[in-house]
């Protein structure tokens, strides 16, 4: 019987069925569940690596050793791993190597919406692009076959709507692959100039061979309509086109995003009156059509920015647009917020109170930028907080050093914060770095990392000691504070900013959503004592609101962290657990 599974779970199933043996990934929405699901198969070795570059190199090593290997990442993760990717294109593989990259058009949980198809073209690596869970499974298996047949890593491009949509899939059996013998081949695998010069033409020949393959590949298919409107599309855009036009339009559905076919597209274009490309983000297919000299529409009809939907495609191409009704009242927005009891809150309150300039990083704590805390000045990419702090302080000297900090989570610090810290230690800016250690990778849904002491299966693993690591880098001032203790946070921040040498503050308390974290009973407000001064509102806790001029605690949300209690000058908060 067919099963309803997530696109990401379908990729994991494809990995299992393809006989993949080694998976190394770094979590990133919307790619995370691929590796989590794959880890449920005992036949596959799975791990969380410290970052995407490491993950990709681990997978490369495994494929070199002769076993099918894989890594998954989000679109921005591929920037981190671009270095190995571009040269793996030259070396090729031994056993099959597949790299999944998941784009996030619409930026549901990302800092940009870059189109990874550009990476495939730039690295000259083939890329398959499934449009639902069934294709995700089938294309994963096909990717391994292509990898071995054409001696190349293969990219599998997912996107939020394919990764995080469930659709029906027929499951198959695992086919074990014989280990391919590792044979020393310096000319192929040692990419120094003399060898790389000879590999580049191999890459160009491979692309030509793959283009030929793409001309008749079953993943690129034509669905004939009435011949008036011809649409070239791919990925989730194909589903919107089908939703709007059904059998009416002729469709060329491309399952291979790189290299793109030439004759197939020419032939399709010749059979339709009007040719339109429907693709999210960049005009990759459209530009290819134009380079072929075809008359085509695309981005003048459909946006470059954001996600598509059926109504958007219908409105752009003359289909039926559905409309609904709206209320004649303003609906207040509901932006994401730091959870009640989030350990980051106390620290950000302290930074806000001390009017610090805060160079931030990627994670739940980016929400520290939201009003009223507004305790963040910059967020760029993984690890940038620390290196940017060093640059900021080198530019401003003492003027910046006395009030500027970097904040970075434990997982992000392991990902690419350590190298920035090495720069501070080496080139000696008087910088204060705050590691927000909530003992988990939070935003992506609680993945283990090198500081937690557990592996992807939750089994005991190596545990990197953050204090010892910072000291080993040469930091004399390394201190740990509990972010639920506002006085201690304030003292630490003031003292370390005043100190005449670089320092690290580790703000340590596990994420309040972790199952093993025991919560105190919820607090409640003694309305006789509450003066309605709103001091407790400064921390933007979703459990606290004002009701009829007095503070009110929502007992279903409050976890009794007590941070609000420390802000109240009138002792109005009390533990609901005290009486009974």
């Amino acid at each position: 019987m067919k099963q309803l599974i997530l696109g990401n779970a379908a990729v994991a199933r494809g990995l299992y069925e393809a006989g993949c043996c080694v998976i190394s990934s770094y979590p990133g929405t919307p790619s995370t569940e691929i590796t989590e699901e794959a880890a449920k198969y005992d036949a596959i070795y799975c791990e969380w690596a410290p970052n995407e570059k490491v993950a990709m190199e681990v997978a490369f090593g495994a494929c070199l050793a002769g076993k099918r290997a894989f890594c998954a990442m989000k679109h921005v993760g591929l920037n981190v791993a671009a270095d190995p990717l571009f040269t793996m294109s030259y070396t090729g593989v031994n056993a099959g190597l597949v790299i999944c990259v998941a784009d996030d058009a619409g930026m549901h949980s990302s800092q940009n919406e870059q189109d990874s198809r550009n990476h495939a073209a730039a690295a000259k690596v083939p890329m398959l692009e499934p449009a639902d869970s069934a294709e995700a499974l089938a294309f994963t298996k096909l990717a391994f076959e292509l990898s071995e047949e054409f001696d190349t890593p293969v990219l599998l491009k997912m996107c939020t709507r394919v990764s995080h949509s469930q659709s029906l899939v027929e499951l198959g059996e695992r086919v074990e692959q014989a280990r391919r013998e590792y044979v020393k081949d310096i000319a192929k695998y040692v990419m120094m100039p003399g060898n790389a010069i000879r590999r580049h033409p191999v890459v160009e020949q491979r692309t030509a061979a793959l283009t030929k393959w793409a001309e008749s590949a079953p993943v690129n298919r034509v669905e004939k309509g009435d011949g008036k409107l011809g649409i070239i599309t791919a990925s989730t855009s194909y589903q919107y086109v089908k939703e709007v036009f059904g059998e009416k339009a002729s469709i060329l559905k491309l399952g291979m995003a790189n290299p793109l076919p030439v004759e197939l597209i020419r032939g399709f274009a010749a059979g339709v009156e009007r040719l339109v490309v429907v693709e999210e983000l960049d005009p990759v297919i459209e530009n290819h059509c134009r380079a072929l000299g075809l008359e085509v529409s695309g981005k003048e009809l459909l946006p470059v920015c954001g996600e598509f939907s059926q109504n958007l495609v219908a409105a752009s191409l003359g289909g039926e647009v559905h409309t609904g009704r709206a209320l004649d009242v303003a609906i207040p927005p509901r932006p994401p917020v730091m959870c009640a009891g989030c350990p980051h809150r106390g620290l950000f309150y302290t930074l806000s109170k001390n009017k610090c300039t805060v160079l931030g990083d990627i994670g739940c704590y980016t929400l520290g930028a939201v009003a009223p805390l507004s305790a963040m000045d910059m967020t760029l990419c993984m690890g940038a907080s620390i290196s940017a702090l060093h640059g900021f302080n080198k530019a401003l000297g003492a003027e910046g050093e006395g009030k500027t900090v970097a904040v970075i989570g434990d997982s992000t610090f392991m990902h690419s914060g350590m190298t920035g810290l090495a720069d501070i230690a080496y080139n000696q800016s008087n910088s204060t770095v705050i590691i927000l250690d909530n003992s988990i990778t939070g935003m992506t849904g609680h993945q283990q990392n090198p500081t937690t002491g557990y592996n992807i299966k939750g089994e005991p693993a190596g545990k990197i000691d953050l204090e010892a690591l910072c000291r080993a880098m040469g930091f004399n001032r390394v201190r740990v504070v509990d972010p639920y203790d506002l006085a201690a946070c304030d003292k630490a921040v003031k003292e370390e900013l005043a100190a005449a040498e670089p320092s690290v503050i580790i703000s340590r308390r596990p994420c309040a959503l972790l199952k093993y974290v025991k919560h105190a009973p919820p607090l409640r407000v003694d309305t006789d004592k509450c003066r309605g001064c709103k001091a407790c509102m400064k921390i933007a806790c979703p459990a606290i609101s004002m009701r009829e001029g007095k503070a009110h605690v929502d007992a279903t949300q409050c976890v009794g962290c007590g941070v609000c209690e420390q802000l109240c000058a009138f002792g109005a908060f009390e533990s609901a657990g005290k009486e009974g």
Partner: protein, 190 residues
């Protein structure tokens, strides 16, 4: 048959993923083509969240657009109002009357609109509103709001009770099954 559309909306962390999982299992067991689209990541941190469930002979798009939802199932009143434009002209809203203030309301920058049920009805929308949190607590846990809502939705679905029971058994851990079945029944008969 034409594709039917169910949206499940609420506030991140309220448990909508279990509801969509249950609905997905149910619909697959009835032989439909089904697509379910979820949101993961940052919006789960107390933001507005939506899950799309679509079923029929053959489903193409994984998402539901404005004016397309046959049902909007909402864990929270303001969220029902937020997604109202997605309801079909003759669509049905099933909502909990629970109110959770979003941060702009908590901070006093915006007001939580009053009488939302009446205002939605005034647009011609069919609205079935009830205190699902109270019913969930009656069943034994405030976390069972999702099953109360599914029970209420089942009231509008022409599907055998047994299929719902089997779907629950397949997605709810055994130790919570009785509690969840109670919540489902309370919602259905409310």
């Amino acid at each position: 048959m034409q594709t039917k559309n169910v949206m499940i909306v609420g506030v991140g962390g309220q448990g909508s993923l279990l509801a969509s999982k249950l609905l997905g299992r149910l619909l697959v067991s009835q032989g439909y083509d089904v697509k379910v689209s979820e949101v993961h990541g940052m919006s789960q941190r107390g933001g507005s969240v939506v899950t799309y469930v679509r079923y029929g002979d053959q489903v193409a798009s994984p998402v539901i657009d404005k004016g397309e939802a046959d049902f909007i199932v909402s864990f929270e009143l303001l969220e029902a109002a937020r997604w109202l434009p997605y309801l079909k002209p003759d669509g049905q809203i099933v909502t909990s009357t629970q109110q959770i203030d979003p941060m702009p309301v908590i901070m006093g920058a915006a007001a939580y609109p009053e009488n939302l049920v009446e205002k939605m009805r005034a647009t011609g929308a069919k609205v079935d509103a009830m205190d699902c949190l109270a019913l969930a607590e009656q069943a034994g846990s405030s976390k069972a709001v999702n099953l109360v809502l599914m029970g209420r939705l089942s009231h509008y679905f022409d599907m055998p009770e047994e299929a719902w029971q089997q779907a629950m058994e397949s997605v709810v851990p055994p130790k919570f099954l009785e509690l969840n079945k109670r919540a489902f029944a309370l919602g259905k008969n409310a």
